[in-house]
Symmetry: C2
Subunit: 123 residues, 2 copies
């Protein structure tokens, strides 16, 4: 399976809560990191549990997949009830296509700083 397909499947199997299929993508020693909170989860079992226990009726939709060699990125849209936002996940796979490293970003909304309204429009 190409890295591109691994990245897409990673998100789609999460969204489907298909835990055996999701686990099949992961190296036993996968490391998951969230730089925003400086949190790290080590190992497939623990990372599976982390996802299974994640609270809320969350949904994930793939917006874009970009992959090159053993690195892949997914830009995705998350939704929990009325709330929604973007996320970016960076994956590293090994030569067998198993995910060895996940770096997750969940950028939150904020109000723009002053001083650039002459250049920008809002949506």
């Amino acid at each position: 399976m190409s890295t591109h397909d691994v990245v897409r499947d990673y998100v789609e199997r999460l969204e489907a809560r298909d835990w055996p299929a999701f686990a099949a993508l992961l190296d036993p020693d996968v490391v998951y990191e969230m730089p925003q909170t400086r949190e790290r989860v080590r190992g497939r079992e623990r990372y599976l549990q982390f996802n299974q226990e994640y609270p809320g009726e969350w949904h994930l939709e793939v917006l874009r997949v970009v992959a090159e060699d053993l690195h892949g990125v997914c830009w995705l849209r998350w939704r929990v009830g009325e709330e929604a936002g973007d996320a970016v996940v960076l994956l590293t796979v090994d030569d067998d296509g198993l995910v060895t490293e996940v770096v997750d970003f969940w950028p939150e909304s904020y109000e723009p700083p002053p001083g650039r309204d002459h250049l920008v429009e809002r949506w």
Copy 2:
């Protein structure tokens, strides 16, 4: 120039404040979007000005480039004085290698929610 090289040069020319070289990477109708603030900047001249006027002694360091066909992603580290963090920029180029679309994420630090300390370590 490959999409991979465009992505790397995009960040390195920004860091160098080499505005003519940076502008040479951009399509005249480039669109820059920041989903976190729902801000959009249209056009090369305006986007150049946006970067030139961006306040602070900011520095950017490329951590990873991933590119596939006409899409590229850069995970980078920013630094302003004592402050530092991660950013992710998603680029789209046209067949001539000119950047037509930029989507920028600046994920901010936050404290982890309770309930997952049994699975995570901090750094």
